[in-house]
Symmetry: C2
Subunit: 194 residues, 2 copies
Amino acid sequence: MADSSAHLHPVALDKCYRLLNHGPTVLVSAAHGGRRNTMAAAWNMPLDFTPPKVAVVVDKSCFTRGLIEASGRFVLAVPTRAQVALVSAVGGCSGREVDKEVVLGLHYLGDGASDDAESTPRVAGCAAWLSCRLLPEPGLQQAYDLFLGEVEAAWADSRVFSGGRWHFDGHDELRTLHHVAGGHFFTPGASISG
Amino acid sequence: MADSSAHLHPVALDKCYRLLNHGPTVLVSAAHGGRRNTMAAAWNMPLDFTPPKVAVVVDKSCFTRGLIEASGRFVLAVPTRAQVALVSAVGGCSGREVDKEVVLGLHYLGDGASDDAESTPRVAGCAAWLSCRLLPEPGLQQAYDLFLGEVEAAWADSRVFSGGRWHFDGHDELRTLHHVAGGHFFTPGASISG
């Protein structure tokens, strides 16, 4: 898997909605009390431009949900074609049963070198990340499993996202994943303008 | 533009989330008091499996918003590559100022032949449609412009969606649209399995 950290650059907050605008499946990570976990979520979307907000569905069965509620934070990471097996594996087991870092080889940017890796766990090798503060809406979380967050920082791999745009040409392995069903994904293909 | 109505078939409600799972931009239509309108929305997602629910962001400036609130209904339609100019045009003007049916040539399935075309306006030529009952959440609508709906019926063009799956091969003009920014879209490309 390509090491994206060498190409990581900040994304301006007023452009960060574009990281999700085209509908990629994301990984949702959170940390609390010495545990970190990551789940897969096709059901996510931007919610506002300024300040930027996002929405994501997190089922009650998800171990990550408890970490989000306890810490008040989560990270959305946009995984790549090179990570398709990892995304399926992450989505196919629960942090209640396994430590995905040990079993799946999941690792995070800055591990061993930064406190950020503890509070803001960004899955290594992804194409983009949005670090979010939970907007607590207990009624919404309970009734609809719907979690809202304000994006406080965002980053992307400059090989495929710069100037506020995705540009995957020449980097097929870094194309985003769009879940169809049952572990089958589309990657972005031809561009077209209206 | 291909006439999709000849290939329209119902989609089982327990599979209708798959119409949105891969992150397409949708058209949102609603009707009330003899007016119909349609807007474009990249910010949408499935919200639940059974009963199926969806979420979509509808800004306070949108004329369609008033039609949704008044009628308690909306339709999400999944437009195609063949409709990219229509999608941009629909997103580029307001129903407050123009009648999009007159100015843009927007038309709906069953026009002139069915009462459904009045209460459940489905944009002709799309690849799929989800007819939704608004789940009234006034606080959520006001604070976040977030509208939730329960899907009561769904249909797709069987050339590209059948057996609960999208299959675009051989039908490039019916590929879904995934908005990047500024009227530029991706269409689904290579498939990959995890």
